[in-house]
């Protein structure tokens, strides 16, 4: 038995090292991080989210959001020059559309833009503005509220002001408050993802 003493000692030392090593690894693994994804993809998503939020902030600040919402052809029931009722794979030819194309399009980012409004019955529905397809897994989303009043004017194809919402026919959103100056409250949603 004494001839095996060295082997037993070495085994005990090895066992102790494995035990201490596993405890140290477990303690080091308590930094709280998500189990899926990498740090690099998280940062890319955060950057894209900041980009979209900043674009919407800029559009809201310079007043280019509302004219785009009002860039509607009531007789054709579509946005001016759109392939369908909405634009397919391109931004609208408005200041907001150019801002989107310059900020997101130049960075290989695709985006969908939707306009949510309230119906006369109090329900909420959507009018797509831009569609680039199905969003990817890393898509981010940002919204801004735009209030429409009876005195706001729909825009013609060249961007000039036309009839007021109270008088214009065929606008996609109805007058949800006919007894007062408020016409409707819409939410512009931008969904963006890397292509």
């Amino acid at each position: 038995m004494t001839a095996r003493g060295q082997a037993y000692t070495l085994e005990a030392i090895l066992a102790a090292l494995v035990l201490i090593g596993s405890v140290a690894f477990a303690l080091g693994a308590t930094g709280v991080t998500p189990l899926s994804g990498t740090t690099a993809s998280e940062e890319a998503t955060d950057r894209l989210s900041g980009l979209v939020e900043g674009t919407l902030d800029a559009a809201a600040a310079n007043g280019s959001l509302k004219p785009t919402v009002l860039y509607w052809n009531g007789s054709e029931k579509r946005f001016h020059g759109a392939e369908r009722a909405h634009y397919v794979s391109r931004a609208p030819p408005t200041a907001f559309g150019r801002l989107l194309a310059r900020t997101l399009g130049d960075r290989s980012v695709a985006f969908n833009v939707n306009v949510y409004y309230v119906t006369a019955g109090g329900n909420r529905t959507v009018q797509p503005l831009v569609s680039h397809g199905t969003p990817g897994d890393d898509a981010v989303r940002a919204t801004r509220v735009v209030g429409l009043s009876d005195g706001d004017r729909v825009r013609a194809a060249d961007g000039t002001a036309g009839a007021t919402l109270a008088d214009a026919g065929g606008f996609y959103a109805p007058n949800a408050a006919p007894d007062g100056p408020v016409y409707n409250v819409v939410v512009v949603e931008v969904i963006a993802w890397h292509v």
Partner: protein, 313 residues
């Protein structure tokens, strides 16, 4: 090598090794599970709270913008009386709040805005070009007194009302005084037939802008003369407390003007005003609103005074 089967006393090395590996694996699995639980429960929740806080602040800005637009709308549509203005502004904000909340509900939030108070004001205007006298033809007269704030003040001179060029002493002037300090603006005609805008903020006359011909627009709100910036147009930096706005030598030019003051007592019954000349109408100068926002993690409530044209509040 030692035998793996248990045998004599002391022959426990293999068992210790296996046990150590097993405990190590157990600790690693425990750490992974703890990590997932902590991240889901704490870190992700913190991100949601940050997003909701930003949404609450955005809702405040949007509510201020909406209130400013509604104030402008009711001032145009419902200026029969201050009571009508209040009622229509309150109803309009109620409509906006209801529709806004409908959108917020889809994201599990509540967002609203409610009228808490108004500052009654008066809109003075002369929309059709005539000379700048009062309704009775007096060339020097006080448009409004007991005023502490003015906004949307615009004036456009459209034509000469006198045959001969006027000078600093007999040309049209605007005088704004609080009884102690006086701010003045004059529109002179130069010897070569041009029109020169001068401003005296208490330190002497300074040239602001000169144009070759009329019309001459002066925008006090944006601080421009014929589109060119003129910082000395900010008369609020000179007068303090209650002040009066007067026209002097108003018979030298024809023009149009409009301004909105926070003195809500002016009425068309005053001889200064008449349907064919300068008119006054009730208006809302400013509105105070209560903005609320609520989500699973954030409850936000604030009161904001909205003066249209004063930025985002």
């Amino acid at each position: 090598m030692a035998r793996l089967t248990p045998g004599e006393a002391g022959d426990r090395g293999q068992l210790m090794l296996v046990a150590a590996v097993f405990i190590g694996v157990l600790l690693v699995v425990l750490a992974m599970v703890l990590n997932a639980v902590v991240f889901t429960g704490v870190t992700a929740g913190r991100d949601e709270a940050v997003r909701d806080a930003r949404a609450a602040e955005r809702h405040r800005h949007e509510s201020v913008r909406a209130t400013g637009a509604l104030v402008a709308a009711v001032n145009r549509r419902n200026d029969t009386s201050h009571a009508a203005l209040w009622a229509n502004l309150s109803d309009g904000l109620g409509d906006h709040s209801r529709l806004r909340d409908r959108h917020a509900a889809m994201e599990g939030r509540s967002a609203g805005v409610e009228l808490a108070g108004v500052t009654n004001g008066t809109r003075l205007r002369q929309p059709a070009a005539r000379n700048l006298t009062n309704a009775s033809g007096a060339p020097t007269w006080t448009l409004a007194a007991d005023v502490t704030a003015t906004r949307d003040f615009e004036l456009e001179l459209t034509g000469n009302a006198t045959a001969t060029p006027c000078s600093l002493t007999d040309c049209f002037r605007i005088e704004i005084t609080d009884g102690t300090d006086t701010w003045r603006l004059a529109v002179n005609q130069t010897v070569d037939g041009r029109y020169e805008v001068l401003v005296d903020d208490g330190g002497g006359w300074l040239a602001c802008e000169t144009v070759d011909s009329l019309p001459l627009p002066i925008d006090f709100e944006n601080g421009t003369v014929a589109g060119t910036a003129c910082p000395s147009l900010r008369f609020e930096a000179v007068v303090d407390g209650d002040y009066a706005v007067s026209f002097v030598n108003g018979d030298t030019y024809d023009g149009t003007y409009e301004l909105l003051t926070d003195n809500g007592t002016l009425t068309d019954a005053h001889p200064n005003y008449d349907g064919g000349g300068p008119t006054v109408s009730p208006a809302v100068y400013a509105a105070t609103v209560t903005v609320t926002f609520e989500s699973r993690l954030v409850a936000y409530r604030t009161t904001v005074r909205v003066v249209p044209g004063d930025g985002d509040g």
